[in-house]
């Protein structure tokens, strides 16, 4: 990151510190009474969304976790599970780009020691940059809060406005180290290029991808411009 971004982040942190001090303790007390499940959601959903996008597009998109909870549907308790209907979370990434995460349902076993949360019908839209966005869909997954692992065990589709579509059958995501592993077939399709393999290990937020077992890459030479020719969106000296 060049220094203007770092300076910006520094000033922003200072501003936040001052605001926090001014607000005084009673606000802090009220914040503490905020229910645990909201805090859980604040961690789970943005992490799911961001990691999935970072993994595929190689952009590290660590949002400020202070995403605002856009809304929570009915919360209910059914057969020992705390069930939250259509949890929705909107927020802004560190570069001030909007993201939104929806799930049809979030379930957590009440009082159980294990810290896993089941998520159903995950759908997220995430910014890639000012122009491009990605949408992530996964039928269901479980988030293990203890070791920050997210397991998506059903078909996952990931598509971007720039035309990249990725399909996985399952994925184990280690959120803290921003890495993803799948031992099931994966397919990535984009303009002029298609990659498929039977296993994929992605790390550094998708900056490093290792495809293994029956790797196939198909290229359309027309689309694979030799370096140095005019780029689509106007020449950059690059």
């Amino acid at each position: 990151m060049d220094d203007s971004v770092m300076k910006g982040a520094g000033e922003e942190r200072q501003a936040q510190a001052i605001r926090r001090a001014e607000r005084g303790s009673e606000v802090f007390a009220r914040a503490q009474r905020h229910s645990r499940r909201v805090r859980v959601l604040k961690v789970v959903l943005p992490a799911t969304a961001v990691l999935a996008s970072a993994v595929f597009l190689g952009y590290t998109l660590l949002p400020t976790l202070g995403g605002s909870v856009a809304g929570i549907g009915a919360a209910s308790i059914s057969n020992g599970n705390l069930v939250i209907e259509d949890p929705a979370l909107d927020g802004f990434t560190r570069d001030d780009l909007p993201y939104s995460v929806r799930a049809e349902r979030a379930l957590q076993a009440m009082g159980s020691k294990d810290q896993t949360i089941a998520l159903e019908g995950i759908r997220a839209t995430l910014p890639i940059d000012e122009q491009e966005r990605a949408t992530v869909r996964a039928a269901n997954g479980t988030f293990d809060r203890e070791n920050n692992h997210l397991t998506l065990d059903s078909d996952i589709t990931f598509s971007t406005t720039s035309g990249l579509v990725a399909r996985l059958r399952s994925a184990r995501i280690d959120i803290s180290s921003n890495a993803l592993v799948t031992e099931e077939p994966v397919e990535i399709e984009m303009e002029g290029m298609r990659i498929s393999a039977d296993a994929l290990r992605a790390s550094e937020g998708g900056k490093r991808l290792i495809f293994e077992n029956r790797v196939r890459v198909e290229l359309e030479p027309g689309k694979v411009r030799p370096a140095g020719t005019q780029k689509k969106e106007g020449g950059g000296d690059g």
Partner: protein
């Protein structure tokens, strides 16, 4: 030293046909702007086939990332023994490079062998202009072969040299 000049009609990279690459492993490293294929690497385009143990694709990082598809490939490096076959010619060497912009393929190594039918030509460096098939085989200067391209012509083979 005398270099072999000739036309390799077969070894051409046609601009429009899709390229298929297969391998055991393919690693993309965004920060270094490389994609590395390892293990039984095979590259097929139309009649042209290239096989090797390892192929590194260098792409222009500023033009987007490999995974967004807008990356522009600069050059390919092939190592661990290279076998290139096209309609009627076969070329082998230890290493190879292909520059996407100049469309020049070079094969180099202790013994670069070019075979067409029964004709065998051996040198140390084969340079092929893939757009036209124009090829130049340079001898191994100063090494055992006395700086000459060794050419084996099998009598009775129809094509006149």
């Amino acid at each position: 030293a005398q270099d072999g000049e000739g036309r390799l009609t077969g070894l051409k990279l046609s601009g429009d046909q899709p390229i298929q690459i297969e391998s055991d492993r393919f690693e993309v490293d965004e920060t270094r702007g490389v994609g590395i294929f390892t293990g039984n690497v095979s590259v097929v385009q139309g009649p042209t086939l290239l096989k090797s143990a390892r192929m590194t694709v260098h792409y222009d990082r500023d033009a987007g990332s490999a995974t967004t598809g807008s990356a522009a490939i600069q050059r390919l490096e092939v190592e661990g023994g290279v076998y290139v076959r096209s309609e009627s010619q076969v070329a082998t060497g230890e290493r190879g490079t292909f520059d996407m912009q100049t469309e020049v393929l070079t094969l180099s190594g202790k013994e670069v062998v070019l075979t067409e039918g029964e004709n065998v030509v051996v040198g140390c460096r084969l340079t092929v202009q893939m757009a036209t098939g124009q090829a130049k085989l340079e001898s191994c200067k100063g090494e055992g072969s006395g700086g000459r391209v060794r050419m084996l012509l099998t009598p009775g083979s129809e094509n006149r040299q």
